[in-house]
Amino acid sequence: MAKKLNMRKRYELLTRGLGWEPTYQPKEKVFPQESYEGIKIVDWDKWEDPFRLTAEAYWKYQAEKDKKLYAIIDSFAQNNGHLNLTNASYINALKIFIQGVSPLEYGAHRGFANLARQFSGEGAQIACQMQSIDELRHVQTQIHTLSHYNKHFTGLHDPFHMHDRVWYLSVPKSYFDDARSAGPFEFMTSISFAFEYILTNLLFVPFMSGAAHNGDMATVTFGFSAQSDESRHMTLGLEIIKFIVEQHEDNLEIVQGWIDKHFWRAYRVLGLVSAMQDYMLPDSPMSWKEAWDIYFVDNCGALFKDLGRYGLRMPKFHEQATEESEHLSHQIYTVLYQFSHAAAFQTEVPSKEKMDWLSEKYPNTFDKYYRPRWEMYAQMEKEGKRYFNAGLPQVCQTCQVPMCFTDISKGNPMELSYRVSEFNGDKFHTCSDGCKSIFDHEPEKYAHAWIPPHQIFQGNCGGAEMPDVLKYYHFNEDDSGEYKGSADDNSWKAAHHNSNDDNDIKESA
């Protein structure tokens, strides 16, 4: 009788021992990226597999997930599910998602393929490879889910082209380029740990819940379906951090530095999510601040308590991020509001109900600092002078978010936060202590970033005039500006006006 193998042993037999020990070529040539970052790996065999999925189990479960997902996507399209949304203004959140997030999924797909090739331990290689094809899944299911919306709404038509070019999309793009241009261990710390483990819950869970709240069953389905992969990725992120730190004492300081840096970089990217969550969802199930308290303060508090025994501490400037949590979405959405004439989404002054909700969720800040501003913009709009900022924003040299943050931690919530560094005789502006500290650590890297307003001034974005630039972005005329009276608003109202007469389900005797 053959002996029975448990999952652990079985997985070990199927995968371990496959890692390559080159003898005909020098190891440094076969795995050229493994050591140049200064990380010392003594024994890859100490790697604990975060999940023990064989290729067969992977195919089986993933196919089952996708069968369900595509059935819903199909029925959503066949039944014109978009008509069941709370409001078409909700689509603006999806526009930012497909322009800003989906291309990152693709970047992660390529980045994890790099790790799968460059790490020399088979446990880590296979885990990274699995994540790489998961990320391919995510970008493709997002495209397929949003394809139906693209047929009916503006701004969703060319996300990958836009991601490479549009000013506000350089926020997510530069973050990912930052991680991708670094070595494999830094990439992994950035994406798997700082982004996936610490922050991804803030992106997906409230956002998908928000989609459910607003009648977008297609997005809910892809979101939850992606999250089941995400749980594996988070576990991988935690595993890699522990593994690296346990391998050699010299690794701790390097890894802590990366956690500090990439926490702040990723956090700044999520500023866009805060605006989506608080302002762009017509009906928000949870505020950014509430999500931050649950998923960052509580959750990461517990995480770093656990990691303390490895010598790791909370990321630098996390206190500032928490202090900002009552201001972040308001400041970012204000910028989006002011510059949406040059964006592939539309914005509007929050409705009265929305403002009341914001007052309730942000009792310390909204009425005091932000409501008066929105009331002023509402007044201007009423007078036919809807406010748009005609200039180009100055952006932070590190995170590339327009300068809109205030010095909250210094007790000046109404004063613009501004930091200056000098490098090679030039001055560089950053938005915060976090971004300045990142710049100062690698000034040669950030000094050469592709800063959109500078590129526009230099004529590298299609031409000197705004219409040239928008053409370079592949924006259509009806993509931008004020939501009220926009093409999306009009077609939505038209569809729902008629639906009262003849598009409803009628019962006839």
Partner: protein, 91 residues
């Protein structure tokens, strides 16, 4: 065992039912939250654990615990798993 909170979020659907019920049965101290659309959030201090035996019993068939992947939305804590159990905990 740690005093920190671990959580598991499952999709709120029929496939997740035997798993959710097993978490309930096997972790009497755990707190269940249904306040977010589409999700069940299960929290506990220290750890959350289910066994294959209980999940199979509740489902009325042999369940492979890896089927949890089909309904998992998120988790916080360190994962430990084998054929007969699945656990998240802080050490």
């Amino acid at each position: 065992m740690s005093e920190s909170k671990v959580f598991i979020i499952l999709q709120h659907n029929e496939d997740a039912r035997p798993f959710a019920e097993a978490f309930e049965q096997e972790n009497p101290e755990a707190v269940f939250k249904y306040d977010q659309p589409g999700m069940i959030r299960i929290e506990n201090i220290g750890e959350l654990k289910i066994t294959e035996e209980v999940v199979s019993e509740l489902a009325g068939r042999d369940v492979d615990l890896q089927e949890l992947h089909l309904v998992l939305v998120s988790l916080s804590g360190c994962v430990d798993e084998d054929d007969d159990y699945f656990k998240v905990s802080w050490n």
